[in-house]
Amino acid sequence: MIEVKNIKKGFNDKVVIDDVSAKLEAGKCNLIIGTSGSGKTVLMKCMVGLFEPDSGQVLYQGEDFTHMHRDAKKDIRKQIGMLFQGSALFDSKTVEQNVMFPLDMFTTSSYAEKLKRVNEVLDRVNLKDSNKKFPAELSGGMKKRVGIARAIVLNPKYLFCDEPNSGLDPLTSLVIDKLIKEITLEYNITTIVNTHDMNSVMEIGDHIIYMYKGLKEWEGSNKEIIFSKNEKLNEFIFASEFLKDAKDMRMLEQAGKIDNDRNMDELLK
């Protein structure tokens, strides 16, 4: 479990994260959603220690990570897998070498064993036959998937994904969402996902934090989110007419006015 306590972070007097607290539980997909520029990436980087928060704490299993000694931090980091928004693949290494890198660094397995594990995770992100390619030869979505493969190759205890779905087609998106959900449950991982993709929100959002201009504006689950009365949140999730209609339908269904799939024909008559 990761706990964030009163985190504040600004750049040159501009406050980007304003007093955010949250509990991110293990075995759940914790989503941070919000419009572009609302501070999702900065919040995530504060959690993993790439940015030093101006004030506040981040606790891993109750231990204060922010003020921890360098070596102790390193030990926790070995249990962290992270996908960066820009993938951050090593461009001098092939796909295979990229994914194998954490194994090379932290395990003593034989090459054959490592290769087997690499192919296993590449298979899980739907990426075969690209082992020998360099990042420059991949599409944006493929890079994302290699990034995810690299993040999960060591079976992390904490998984951070910064927009795993941006740049992916809906089908691959779904595969990635399912993968994230699966491994979260399978290994009881504390998973934190930044996204503005409503499909993912509905698909895997066990716990959702809505960020608005650096503030935690709303918190809840995917079951609650569409019924929320929070205006700013509604503006975000029902940005399109289509979704507004979908919400109305869902409301009607919920109220027993319609029975989805079955009574539609009658209703349309």
């Binding site: 790439l50 926790i76 070995k78 992270m82 951050a88 890198f101 660094m105 932290f106």
Partner: protein, 247 residues
């Protein structure tokens, strides 16, 4: 003021490089990789400039020594000493500051901007130790060797040039080479080589590692890295000469 803060950050970077390697084998592999990148990678340019600087300095020395009172073999002595004392270590390192320095700065700058350094950090690897230390060590291993190669080639280039232009014969030149030879000069050149190797790898590493922004800043920082390293090399050259050649 900013000069002091920059120097402070530079020292902190050097200090931060020393931590227990996460995996010795991987660090060794990276060191070997850097040795081949830096050493083999700049061998070609070192060969070319060494040969020509030797040749040119021999011809110009011959041109200036018009008096019949001075034996021809003196030319060989002068070529030998200028090549060993100044040309091989300093000139080669100035050129390498451009070749190796801009490579190190832009490589690290690119890794910084595309968050590859952050990715290493998140994995629990010390990026300073894994990325910077092998580059500095590799430079300190290969650049003094290149300086030695350059001494040999420079002198050989000078010999070839004077013989080709009929100033003197091979035998005369070789005789001059052995006259009043000081082993200390080679030692001095190697001290320079090690010092400059450290300068032209650590300063560009500093500028590359601390890039902020995008592609534009990578270019800027690598230019700055080369300029600052060159100035630092010349300054160190002066200091070393003042300290070590003070009779």
């Amino acid at each position: 003021m900013t000069l002091f803060t920059e120097f402070g950050r530079y020292l902190l970077m050097i200090k931060g490089m020393f931590s227990r390697p996460e995996n010795h084998k991987m660090y060794w592999k990276e060191l070997m990789h850097q040795c081949s990148e830096i050493g083999i990678g700049s061998l070609g340019i070192v060969v070319i400039i060494s040969f020509f600087m030797g040749a040119v300095s021999a011809l110009q020395t011959a041109y200036q020594l018009v008096s019949d009172l001075i034996p021809k073999s003196t030319i060989a002595q002068i070529v030998r000493d200028t090549v060993i004392l100044e040309f091989a270590p300093t000139l080669v390192c100035i050129v390498l500051a451009g070749v190796v320095g801009s490579k190190i700065a832009s490589e690290l700058g690119n890794m910084r901007v595309s968050e590859q350094i952050d990715a290493l950090e998140i994995m629990g690897i010390n990026p300073k130790a894994y990325l910077i230390l092998p580059k500095i060590l590799a430079s300190m291993i290969t650049i003094p060797l290149l300086v030695v190669v350059s001494m040999g080639l420079g002198i050989w280039g000078g010999r070839l040039a004077v013989v080709l232009s009929n100033v003197m014969s091979n035998n005369e030149f070789d005789k001059g080479l052995l006259e009043s030879f000081l082993g200390y000069n080679v030692f001095f050149a190697l001290v320079k080589g090690y010092t400059f190797a450290f300068i032209i790898s650590s300063i560009p590493a500093f500028y590359g590692y601390h890039v902020q922004g995008g592609a534009l800043e990578i270019g800027r920082s690598s230019t700055k890295a080369v300029v600052v390293s060159c100035v630092a090399v010349l300054f160190a050259d002066y200091v070393l000469a003042a300290v070590l050649l003070n009779k």
